[in-house]
């Protein structure tokens, strides 16, 4: 796999080849491998929060159940569908850039960023209702002031602690994803990528898929507690 580009000084190198890589295939593989390591690290970053969630759900099962009833599951479902669609469009973006169709790639990237914004808007709305209903973690938990129906036990504050930590961290990652994809979109608009060089699109796509992957696990764990 490794071509010997050392003969007669350097052959006219591909435009984006770094001097330390011997050929662009190895550089592309290095970039993807580096990204996968970064995704492995992101999984561990969320693992501590999943561990805290599992720890407290294990101890207060029915408090978690009663607390999660107050979450808007239809919004959760819509957000999941929205993120899955954005995941599709980003995969198509990579697919098109591989065939060199830059125009279609830009369209797909725009749709992905749009879906991301929709997700953030929906999630913001959810937070607003929770702020309004007083379903906030720890010290700020005062549901009885606004909620009718049976009083929530004290421990359901733990549910909202885990809920807010998980979803706020996930939303931050959505924001970072939007930043990354818009940079990739800007470069693509300026024609930086071609069929031979599209590493950034692939890496940006991988990051966005991770954000979607985490939401796939968050949705059943937070919204569909039984």
């Amino acid at each position: 796999m490794q071509t010997d580009a050392i003969d007669a000084g350097h052959a006219p190198k591909e435009p984006h080849l770094r001097f330390q890589f011997s050929d662009s295939a190895r550089q592309f593989h290095a970039a993807k491998f580096g990204m996968w390591l970064f995704l492995g690290q992101e999984v561990m970053f969320f693992s501590a929060l999943f561990c805290a969630y599992a720890y407290y759900r294990n101890q207060f099962p029915d408090a978690f159940f009663r607390a999660s009833q107050h979450l808007n599951t239809t919004f959760g479902l819509l957000e999941t569908i929205d993120l899955l669609t954005s995941s599709l469009t980003v995969a198509l973006a990579i697919h098109f850039i591989r065939q060199g169709k830059r125009g279609l790639t830009s369209v797909m990237l725009i749709i992905t960023i749009a879906c991301a914004f929709i997700f953030l808007v929906m999630h913001g709305h959810e937070y607003a209702t929770e702020f309004h209903e007083g379903l906030l973690p720890g010290r700020f938990f005062h549901p009885e002031a606004h909620l009718e129906g049976p009083a929530l036990p004290m421990e359901s504050a733990m549910f909202f602690t885990c809920y807010f930590f998980l979803t706020v961290l996930h939303s931050i990652h959505v924001l970072i994803g939007i930043g990354v994809l818009s940079v990739v979109l800007a470069f693509n608009m300026r024609g930086k990528y071609s069929q031979a060089y599209y590493t950034h699109v692939e890496v940006g796509g991988l990051y966005w898929h991770l954000v979607d992957l985490i939401w796939i696990f968050l949705f059943p764990l937070l919204y569909l507690v039984t």
Binding site: I6, F19, F21, G40, F45, A48, A52, G138, T161
Partner: protein
């Protein structure tokens, strides 16, 4: 004393006219914005030396205070802040970044025949993240630092009135720097190996760095999120670790030690890998059990993730979990013993050259054996009940961390000094300083084993009088240790300024990094080298049958 014969047609010829990486460019900007892995290594070396001596001064202040049972030179609160800052500075700002940052950055590309690391810009970013973390830490120190100990146990760390947030932020940012270094090294080792450099020809230093990077990438994010949770809990009172709201402080301990136990292997694996290099070079023979040492690196890396519970034996952890963690902790001991036996085995029928780095390696061997044994004793659950949180634990991890890691940092610094700076250090002074440092370590921390047995708890500002004579001996040797380290700094700086010029391979060592001129040119090799021999194989020098 240059023993190595320069094989003809090697990349060395072409590289001779190129200026070396120090003189290749000049001006502050060329250093501050450098992408050359060797210059970044020197930036790390500078910062790491500062933080090491800063941590050392905190340690000396602690030891001086402990000379007398009651009020010595500071009050209780200052003492508590002092030992926290000693812990945080040493662990986060020296131990974790030192060997990977300085020697890993400088020598991995040289050892695998690469021009530079895989992502040079990422390399510079992780240095600046580390520098930013050190500045955050200094800013926290100026604001009085915190008094929670480097473990930040809740609910104390979330209810303390001292400035704990800047220190938490410093550790958080430092985590990212070490993750990005880990990613960079793993990708470099995977994709940038030169032709002929297959896995079984990797020098053991590169194996050690690979194992360390795996732990760095997979364990560090957990401390990032845990410290963030503690910070948000301290600031907003979300109740995740707060017992009054159903939270559980023991969960914080689980999450903290899930990182911190592999973190001690992030610190010690690089030291083991430098030791393999030193012993490989100065016994003038290929290392015994090359494969076993390489594989035991991964043994330590992965089993290290399973044993974090032995820090919680007395914290109210369940008996079942204590048993499981106790058993898994025992498995780590065997990988270290493989390494130690192979190192000592390598000295059999060798031709040992007595130099300062090898003296450090001998000191390292003694401290690792003794520290490792006390580690296994601590992992025996019923003994740990007595020893937990006493000076026995302090002595154990200082034997390993202060002993093994610092000795190997100094050993590596002396061994690679000619290659990094092109100057030779004074051998005589080196020997004196090394003996002072090794005796200082042993003298400072052996009394603390007996203190721990007698039941002296750690982090105690004042103590009952019957512990005093052990504290006094420990403090005296602490000063000797500090003198040794100061002497090392002095003669190394003097050698840096006007030391005699070093040849390309002053030790006649077989490893690949000695094939380049010292200090090496900016792109290491003019053309990608072809590796055709094992790292510890002596080529071009005749081997006398009867070694002695």
């Amino acid at each position: 004393m240059s023993l190595a014969v320069v094989p003809e047609g090697s990349p060395l010829q072409a590289a001779h006219e190129e200026p070396d990486y120090i003189r290749a460019k000049s001006g502050v900007l060329s250093w501050v914005l450098t992408l050359d892995h060797k210059r970044i290594a020197l930036l790390y070396l500078g910062t790491v030396t500062v933080t090491f001596f800063l941590g050392g001064i905190f340690a000396l202040a602690l030891r001086t205070e402990l000379l007398v049972p009651e009020h010595g030179i500071m009050d209780a609160m200052t003492y508590n802040r002092m030992f926290t800052l000693h812990g945080v500075t040493m662990v986060f700002f020296f131990m974790i970044p030192a060997i990977p940052g300085v020697f890993g950055n400088f020598f991995i590309p040289l050892m695998i025949g690469a021009h530079d690391v895989a992502f040079p810009r990422l390399n510079l970013t992780s240095y600046y993240l580390y520098l930013f973390a050190v500045c955050l830490g200094l800013w926290g120190m100026i604001h009085g630092g915190t008094d929670t100990g480097w473990t930040f146990y809740t609910p104390y760390s979330t209810t303390t009135t001292t400035a704990v947030l800047p220190i938490l932020a410093a550790a958080f940012v430092n985590g990212f720097s070490s993750i990005l270094t880990g990613v960079n090294f793993i990708v470099t080792i995977h994709t940038l190996r030169a032709e002929g450099m297959h896995w079984m020809r990797l020098p053991l230093f590169v194996w050690g760095m690979y194992g360390t990077s795996v732990i760095q990438v997979l364990a560090t994010p957990v401390i990032g999120i845990t410290l963030a949770l503690a910070g948000v809990e301290h600031f907003l009172g979300t109740g995740i670790f707060d017992p009054a709201r159903g939270g559980d402080p023991i969960l914080f301990q689980h999450l903290f030690w899930f990182y911190s136990h592999p973190a001690v292997y992030i610190m010690v694996l690089p030291a083991f890998s430098v030791a393999s290099e030193l012993i490989g070079a100065f016994t003038r023979k290929p290392l015994v059990g090359y494969k076993m040492i390489a594989l035991s690196t991964f043994g330590i890396a992965f089993v290290g993730f399973l044993a974090w519970g032995h820090h919680l034996f007395t914290s109210g952890q369940s008996v079942v979990d204590a048993g499981v963690f106790g058993f898994l902790s025992m498995l780590i001991g065997i990988f270290t013993s493989i390494k130690v036996f192979n190192w000592v085995g390598s000295m059999y029928k060798a031709a040992i050259h007595m130099t300062t780095p090898f003296l450090y390696a001998l000191g390292f061997l003694f401290l690792t054996v003794f520290g490792g044994m006390t580690g296994v004793a601590l992992a025996t659950i019923s003994l740990d009940v007595h020893w937990q949180d006493t000076y026995f634990v302090v002595a154990h991890f200082h034997f390993i961390m202060a002993g093994a890691v610092v000795l190997m940092f100094l050993g590596g610094l002396h061994y690679w000094f000619p290659k990094m700076f092109g100057k030779t250090y004074p051998e005589g002074w080196g020997m004196i300083a090394a003996t002072l440092v090794i005796l200082g370590f042993i003298g400072t921390f052996t009394p603390q084993f007996f203190l721990g047995n007698e039941g002296m708890p750690r982090r105690y500002y004042s103590y009952p009088a019957h512990f005093q004579w052990l504290h006094v001996t420990s403090t005296i040797f602490a000063y000797i240790l500090f003198m040794g380290l100061l002497l090392t700094l002095i003669y190394l700086v003097v050698a840096l300024i006007n030391g005699p010029r070093a040849s390309n391979n002053p030790w006649g060592a077989p490893q690949y990094e000695w094939d380049t001129p010292s200090p090496p040119p900016e792109h290491n090799f003019s053309a990608t080298p072809v590796i055709n021999r094992d790292p510890y194989e002596y080529v071009g020098q005749e081997i006398i049958e009867n070694a002695n």
